[in-house]
């Protein structure tokens, strides 16, 4: 437990190399780059970038830098043709590597803030309580809105929102509360998102811990995938925890919690949930912040999962269900292969070392 003092980070260490490999290897394009051009090294920098050399495929451009003026390219995210209306010059508007996908030319930003899109599953934190709506932080440039008509109030979906409800808004969500919701729409005026938590899968979060992997952009960070919410069985972990629910918000916020089986007794009157009485499904319990009993093993495995996800984000690996599962397997193997890996004290400690973190990253990329 010696204090570890490291030499300072050199500048070249900060840009992870995976973003070049990750983005260009996914694309089917490899040979569509036959553009006649002079030898790039002799040209001054102001000229277009794309050339015969495939290495320029991943080369970094900065906003305002011309990318190409070939007519075959369509412009994608991060580029514009508006700067020179007469010609077909594509200019970059973001800083990042040039990413061609077939005939589409995009620039993926190295570091970008989350921009909400309709249908995204996000984890958000209440920032302020206003008249009949809440302002929530979703790690976007603007705070999102959650109006009181977009949540399930106890007593049924068709319940009228009364003036009393407006006065009692803090009974449902207070400043600082975490909830999982879906982006319903983007307001055309300022681009702020409007959320809704109308499904039973959404709502207040409890029994777990929060983690933010925002700010990586580029190849890393959380990607929109098929499943954002999944359950991981951690009984194979060194401490033998139970099941852990993982919610990967597209905005970079992650929630790890103990998996709670749906208690049928908690539904109103203990009635089985059917299509006719979906309205009565939400009871006041949905808005409580009372945690259940969480065993020590589960807590330790949640801490381990936290560190694994941080590892993946630092290594610029896309964080989705597959990589999290694989990263967790590698971490458990690492822990068990050490001497005393099953002891309570050492739970997750192996992840402190840079070596272990590298192995997790390698394990996920390779597997």
């Amino acid at each position: 437990m010696v204090l570890i003092i490291l030499p300072p980070l050199a500048e070249s260490d900060t840009i992870p190399q995976n973003i070049y490999n990750g983005s260009s290897s996914d694309d089917s394009d490899s040979g569509g780059m036959d553009i006649d051009s002079d030898n790039l090294e002799n040209r001054p920098r102001k000229r277009v970038r794309l050339g015969k050399h495939s290495m320029t495929k991943g080369s970094i451009v900065v906003p305002g830098e011309p990318v190409t003026d070939e007519t075959q390219w369509m412009r994608g995210h991060g580029t514009t043709t508006l700067l020179s209306p007469s010609s077909t010059l594509i200019t970059a508007t973001l800083a990042g590597p040039i990413t061609p996908t077939n005939k589409l030319l995009s620039v993926l930003p190295i570091r970008a803030r989350y921009n909400p899109e309709v249908g995204d599953l996000v984890i958000s934190r209440i920032v302020s309580v206003e008249k009949s709506q809440w302002r929530v932080d979703v790690s976007a440039p603007l705070l999102a809105k959650l109006s009181m008509s977009s949540i399930n109030l106890p007593g049924g979906t068709l319940r009228r929102r009364t003036a009393n409800d407006e006065l009692q808004m803090r009974r449902y969500f207070q400043e600082g509360d975490l909830l999982v919701a879906e982006v319903q729409s983007i307001s055309s005026g300022d681009g702020s998102a409007t959320l809704h938590a109308r499904s039973l899968r959404y709502g207040k979060l409890r029994n777990g811990t929060f983690l933010a992997v925002s700010g990586t952009g580029g190849g890393g960070g959380i990607v929109r995938s098929r499943r954002q919410q999944f359950t991981l069985d951690t009984s194979s972990g060194a401490q033998g925890g139970g099941e852990v629910d993982v919610i990967l918000g597209v905005n970079g916020y992650v929630w790890l919690s103990k998996h709670i089986e749906e208690r049928s007794g908690s539904k109103a009157g203990g009635v089985d949930l059917g299509i006719s009485n979906l309205d009565e499904a939400v009871s006041a319990e949905a808005y409580s912040s009372q945690n259940d009993m969480i065993e020590e093993g589960t807590r330790r495995e949640i801490s381990r999962l936290c560190e694994v996800i941080k590892c993946l984000a630092e290594g610029a690996i896309r964080v989705d269900e597959e990589s999290v599962r694989r990263g967790y397997e590698v971490a458990v193997d690492l822990a068990l292969s050490r001497e005393g890996g099953g002891s309570l004290e050492a739970a997750g400690r192996e992840l402190l070392e840079a070596e272990s973190r590298r192995r997790i990253v390698d394990g996920v990329v390779a597997g």
């Binding site: 204090l3 490291l6 330790r300 801490s303």
Partner: protein, 360 residues
């Protein structure tokens, strides 16, 4: 001293989860560290030109601090032989016959300026933090009677040149940190104290060609300069021992946790800033110079909402967060002291010593 504002508040459910995790035996930390595990940080010294010592320290959460130390020669205010002038000398350990022994320095000869992003220069919180960092530097690190006269003094005693001149140390600290909110209210004290320690270890004072009561004349040869604090292998120094280090320790549910990060601090029952220094020339002995209790931000939190609406407001329902009330028990404070004086203090001092010796 109010805790630094954390812009991202945690929900009562998260607070309750964190608090119960940290209160178990052994405590379960969100990043799976041991309670005595410190996060690795990066450090380098001798980074600033035009300073006599400097250090650049970066912590794991992205915050960095740069410290520069300069010394200048200053005229000593002459005190009259009479006793009426004595009340100007409010020194620690200032005795009546100081003139017959080695000269006493004034703690005001060491000045520390702190620049934090977003805080104005006249912010009272800034003054408090400056003084907290400065006052441990001017306290003699070892007061045992067995040490020699040269070792028993404090830093300012070593700054005396002759009866009319002394050295004045200026320590400038700049905290470079990412924008508010991402650091989640982590108190910058341990980072700044570590940076100051390393900068002071790196500081060298120019050698003086003058002797005795002559006006001071410095030697231009930087290689001949003398280290401020004893560097292993070099015999000459201005002050014996090593500069102190301030650690951030938190207490939660009877457990003592070292180097808490922002989320752990949010549920602390008590937060302490403990300043330690090496006592004597061996790394084995560590003495506590100061203990300060800091405000815990767990007081300013909302209560959790229990599942059942009925019941008294003050009932303790397991799983529901209740903001921290009251102070810290004396027995807990003793536990903190014991933990610091035990292995943790020795390991910290030993690791820093190893870093300095290898030329960090």
């Amino acid at each position: 001293m109010p805790a630094s504002a954390s812009t991202s508040q945690l929900s009562p459910a998260e607070l309750s989860y964190l608090h119960s995790s940290l209160s178990s035996h052994p405590p379960i930390r969100p990043d799976a560290r041991l309670p005595t595990d410190f996060r690795p940080f990066s450090a380098e010294t001798n980074v600033l030109p035009n300073t006599m010592g400097s250090a650049h320290v970066g912590f794991a959460d992205g915050r960095e601090a740069v410290v520069g130390v300069r010394a200048e020669v200053e005229r000593t205010a002459q005190v009259a032989a009479g006793s009426d002038a004595r009340e100007d000398d409010t020194e620690m350990g200032d005795t009546g016959d100081s003139k017959t022994e080695r000269a006493q320095g004034k703690s005001s000869w060491i000045s520390l300026t702190l620049t934090l992003p977003g805080l104005r220069d006249d912010d009272p919180g800034l003054f408090f933090l400056e003084e907290m960092l400065r006052e441990v530097l001017v306290v003699p690190s070892s007061t045992t009677s067995t040490t020699t006269a040269a070792a028993a003094g404090s830093l300012q005693d070593g700054l005396v040149i002759n009866s009319r001149w002394h050295w004045r140390l200026h320590i400038d600290v700049v905290l470079i940190s990412p924008p508010e909110g991402s650091a989640a209210g982590s108190y910058p004290l341990p980072l700044l104290s570590m940076a100051i320690h390393l900068a002071l270890r790196d500081t060298r004072i120019p050698r003086l060609k003058s002797e005795g009561e002559e006006d001071p004349l410095a030697d231009d040869d930087w290689e001949a300069s003398v280290h401020l604090y004893a560097k292993p292998g070099k015999s000459r120094c201005f002050a014996a021992g090593v500069p102190p280090i301030t650690l951030l320790v938190m207490v939660v549910g009877g457990n003592v946790v070292f180097d808490p990060n922002g989320t752990e601090l949010a549920v602390a029952d008590g937060v302490f800033a403990v300043s330690i220094a090496r006592a004597g020339s061996e790394n084995d002995l560590v003495s506590i110079l100061a203990v300060r209790m800091l405000e815990t931000s767990a007081r300013d939190t909302f209560k959790g909402v229990p599942r059942n609406e009925g019941g008294n407001e003050w009932d303790v329902v397991p799983g529901v967060w209740r903001p921290k009330l009251g102070g810290v028990k004396r027995a807990v404070l003793t536990k903190v002291m014991k933990a610091v004086l035990g292995d943790v203090g020795k390991e910290i001092v030993g690791s820093l010593e190893a870093f300095v010796v290898q030329g960090g």
